[in-house]
Symmetry: D2
Subunit: 421 residues, 4 copies
């Protein structure tokens, strides 16, 4: 059989439904008139209801009342800095785990952690990991790096001009830094690393951003830096772009994996053999045995780094605390390690791209703000601590899933916890 099965199945299914002529018609561009929604920036109860007039049809009034419930209508204005074309809210269920003991440089106490998800077994699994880790004395954590990136790109007629441009940037770095930092109270430009590909120059601009996640802050600062360049630079620039799709914003990248983006955090715990047996229902040796297979699977399948399911914990925590959930794409890479320490088990995660803030973004919204308050980490001075708690949380998830699969419990847990749907 020379053609893979899945190709044949797909073709057969298509043929049963369509002739080529039918498909050609269906897939062609169509200039039937349409009426686009009028954009709304500053939402009001009225603007919400006007939208719903258009949505009723496929959607029902019941649907409207579920999304545009009374509270969401009343709060319309409060969302105006966070969304456009507002029509209400989706309610994501939140579970809580804890206390999780964190012995970190920046986070150093017991935390209850809110997790927003619709996937059964997730909260239970992380909770189990947190219990084992806390019982073992807690998770040590450290922020190892901090730096949000923007990478504007500049194009030139040739490589020599590109080189002279880099020289100009290096010579004028102080003025450029001033321009960048003048736009922000909390952002500091820590380095500018030029990368040349012949006639194109990318400038990797790294910033510390205080307690904010900082993606908008670095955009604005870098824009000012670029405008200063464009105004003063003696080398003729062909075109320039605020972002050369190089920074790793919203996607897994080798750059982020290697040099970090946002905060790089490492977290670890040594689980005593007795706790593994009693709490996790398996043994140090069985966890190590599966850890080796999981690591091999990560490499064979071409992961970036090697880990089991950071994304689960990250998405749940990001949603519950008003972080940018799209950043899960870049945050969910890193390195999980498990090693024997005598009869006990050393477990660690090192996550180079944690993007969280305790001010700005969605953190100021009402229920998200409440999520941060559960952690006790809302507002100024808590950004690094939240990053450490995030890594500690992900470590709990790794411990729990490795134990579950090693013990053969994984399927059972999912089957039973999703039973009530």
């Amino acid at each position: 059989m020379t053609i893979p099965a899945h190709v044949q199945v797909l073709l057969k299914r298509l043929r049963e439904k369509f002739t080529p002529e039918k498909l050609r018609e269906q897939m062609a561009a169509c200039d039937a008139p349409f009426r686009t929604l009028r954009p709304v920036r500053d939402a009001t109860e009225k603007s919400v209801l006007r939208y719903w007039e258009r949505l009723i049809g496929p959607a029902s009034h019941i649907d409207r009342d579920l999304i545009a419930d009374t509270a969401s209508l009343a709060a319309a204005k409060s969302y105006s800095g966070n969304i456009e074309n507002y029509i209400g809210t989706v309610k994501v269920p939140v579970g809580v785990i804890g206390p999780l003991r964190v012995n970190g440089i920046n986070a150093a106490r017991d935390y209850h952690i809110p997790l927003a998800t619709t996937e059964a077994a997730l909260v239970a699994s992380y909770g189990r990991g947190a219990y084992a880790a806390t019982k073992a004395g807690g998770i040590s954590t450290a922020v190892l790096y901090e730096g949000v990136i923007r990478t504007p790109a500049f194009t030139f007629d040739n490589i020599l001009s590109a080189g002279l441009f880099v020289e100009w940037v290096v010579t004028n770095i102080k003025a450029l830094r001033s321009a960048a930092e003048s736009t922000t109270q909390h952002g500091k430009l820590s380095s500018v690393e030029p990368v040349i590909d012949n006639n194109v120059v990318f400038l990797i601009c790294r910033y510390t951003t205080g307690d904010a996640s900082g993606q908008n802050m670095v955009t604005i600062a870098t824009h000012a830096l670029c405008e200063k360049i464009v105004a003063d630079c003696t080398v003729p620039i062909d075109r320039w772009y605020i972002e050369g799709n190089f920074s790793g914003d919203k996607k897994a990248s080798a750059l982020g994996l290697m040099t970090g983006r946002g905060r790089k955090v490492s977290a670890s715990v040594i689980l005593p053999a007795a706790i593994i047996e009693k709490t996790l229902g398996t043994t140090t040796q069985e966890m190590l045995a599966y850890g080796r297979i999981a690591d091999l699977g990560a490499k064979l399948s071409g992961q970036m780094g090697a880990q089991a399911h950071y994304a689960n914990g990250l998405a749940a925590l990001y949603i519950a605390t008003g972080q940018d959930a799209a950043c899960v794409a870049e945050s969910a890479i890193g390195f999980t390690r498990m090693e024997a320490r005598g009869d006990d088990l050393f477990c660690s995660v090192t996550m180079p791209n944690i993007l969280v803030g305790t001010v700005g973004g969605g953190t100021g919204l009402a229920s998200q703000s409440a999520g941060l308050n559960i952690l006790g980490l809302k507002g100024t001075g808590n950004g690094a601590a939240l990053a450490e708690v995030t890594a500690a949380l992900c470590l709990c998830g790794e411990i729990s899933i490795v134990a579950a699969i090693a013990a053969g419990d994984f399927t059972r847990a999912h089957q039973s916890l999703a039973r009530l749907r």
Copy 2:
């Protein structure tokens, strides 16, 4: 300066705050007593309030009322199949865009699309792309592949046993398929691909999963397949695991990029020059010029595939419609292309790992279900259409961001739309 700036900054900051002794104490394991939360599977109003008794302290009663509002308390039971340790809901604001015209094999009409996000400018940007694409006659889409993966792993004493095991599996494939498919009404096993690394065998089990996203379905089916193997196989198996961390579940992987996971969808549109100028405020040539830089940046920074920000649209749609937001980590990879077609611009995305369902998971929850109803895609028969709409949405986002950066509008948009926070 031999040591990178960021290392020096971090060390200096630490030294100002801590002595090594202080840190040693703070980071050490600590056996202070703690009281873990009692796990709750079947939430009730009472169980929710009991949790909040523990959370009040860092959190306030106001926080409680924001998360455990009356409706969330009343609905506690309805979330029991989707979350454990339920304490209420987080309200994620939803914006709407559309109509977006999709001319697809499975999705073939105009759609309004709900997007849940806390990031200013996202909805406006996708809305602008949707308007341009619809004005251009709509987006052609096609599901190119379907197959959710589980990859159990088996270990043996040596490579010969691994080989004999594979032979046994191949010989008994019909019985194994029956075992797997007996657990599910909608899941079909389309292929089993053995991958050997010396004494370890991974079986890549690919399924079609009907209209469900299907991650639990394939876990349960594969568990049955494995138990059949373990019961009948004549080759002695050392250990086995339901998942060898090979399937790409919840993480970007080369396997997913190359062979697909979930649904692989391609979407394209040809934007006439006039629409680019009028709607997007730039030109075909300027978009192509930036497209080349964006593609170069993607490669230089070591992305998987090359795209700008699929994650934004994916996260917003996944949250609004009850998909698994953690899957953004694996879905947000793929290939965006832009090419001249005379004076016009061909734009496409090909996304190999779209994981969406219109039944199961979080799709049955009240407000999420309402999100699907806005699309008119709730329930049986709509899975493939939702996948096509998802890809079409991401194409709108690519068009809009490329145009914005090409035109120099990107920073301005973010600055202005986040102004009200």
Copy 3:
């Protein structure tokens, strides 16, 4: 210091040597007349000497006699199917190691292995590994996959045509296979896997190629397959290309890593503790400890797979036996594992992209043929055995370098063995 040190150093060095004006002049295109070398396909003594007339100047007569020595001049004609513009030969020194005991499916005896390299310590290191492995009873090997790839690409006006094209290919696969296989006695087409990116279709054509490395064989066969398509296909093809730069030919790729290219071979041995101590001067525990670090380093630095230095053994064996040395780029990826087996050490390599032949290519040249004869693997029937020996060799290299670094011997060995230069 905002600008990395290396940028500043490079700029400073440039400035000391050049003004921008000087550089601009030096780097500009220059239309000074030149006289290109006349291409020669069928080399003769005369053609060689005519070339050298042009080369004398920077090169001396001594240089000529070193490359165009009497034997190389006399053999000029014999190289005509392997090189153009022949001017003589470079002499690469060959060292021998062995016997290496291989207990494989295809290679099952003791081998002496010729290694061509100019790097001190390489032969000694591989020899040490071979001694340890043979003393341990030899290396078990197995070919796990075979399939050389060509991936022609076809472009269409839109995705629907691309889909119809795939359907046509699937429907006509028998005729296409006949066309491909009609060009070759040994090549068999084992699968054709279509990959669609919107309006572009790549066909992954996999072949077994008998005892040849087979890269030309599959090019010619695939060309025939494509011409058959172009002649008969009813779907209008826009453009087509014999290779869409997708096959992984001459470069590391995730495709090759995951599905194999050429032959995939796994090799393993269990080293008794006593042999590790006596022969390698270290211990099982120390090798495992370093193995964990080496694996972590591989992941942190973003390798494909995880291994130490396959390339050393591969390049040396490929050159000594007339293989295509450029294929080192694709062959030098894979997976090295080390695990405790009681007090002993299990070591394995799994290499998905070994490209070797025992007929064709450079294997028929005089000294290269002699290299194959040392192995006893020249000619028909030996391709798979040579692939297994190659993997076994690389395993020896991994064992030796891991032991050397674990024992702290690595620097010493290189310092001492390069001392005579």
Copy 4:
């Protein structure tokens, strides 16, 4: 068909040849006595012939005389610093191309380039590219980065100790640099970048290495640096290793792709439309059309970077000039770009990991030295120029293969040039 075809074919073939019992026996460890070759460091004619006594059997006296020819016997001693267990030389045919005009920062004249390969069509193809580029006024080149890497690894009891270690290193960097640089006349330590993964610290030590490729130089210097650390560091080190398998030595890695290893060089040329038509037999538009497909194929198949076949030119030049051929594995990654410049074609390559030297390694051997003399680049002061010529050569190869595939000539060329074998 649930099981892939290639698995079934392989299993069938095995079954025809073997029973499991037969295989079990054949693959088992075997303790038959063997007599290992006695290692020889300082080769003599006698030592060579003694080895051959052992090799005769599978190999013949004719084979011996082809490898251990009179000249190779006489030169035995001269190879002693480059190889162990010497048994003679393999003769790799060399073709020449040129002149290739290079307008570089470091290489700025016309060069004839020796290429050692056994693959038909390679020299002709690169020669054609060189002709087109020279006719277009030559190739502009620039070294953009220089830095050979060693990355020793240190392990600690926990992350706090790892952090204190980094602080110690930063504080003592001057003394460490002195220790490193005291071992070498030409090596300079340009940066030390610590990378922490919990309790493990890797130090990325970057050096400039003058005109040598420098891999041994940096090993020795880093060894001294490490010994200084071990002697003086106040933080207890658990274990340390001269190389943590992090540097990318002999393998493609994201680290090398992103930050460079050896020399990073960019090379470009603008090919006038007329030259493309006359010399390359195709057009700017056709080359661009294929260039887009080749770029897409690179991304779809998961290459590092995107290029066609750097490895061919690299391997041929490395072998002909005494470079380390194993470094092809790391050098053969990078970025090829093609863009329209009006009717003409801009082509560039940027190669981050070129590892070449004009002193040291194999460059001092007789015929390899002659190879460098053909280039006029032997000895001190030429390292950077050779790196630029290398990149220019690879650009010629990219131009030629893209033109050949665009024009449909690729198969024909390989078929015809290999015809004489």
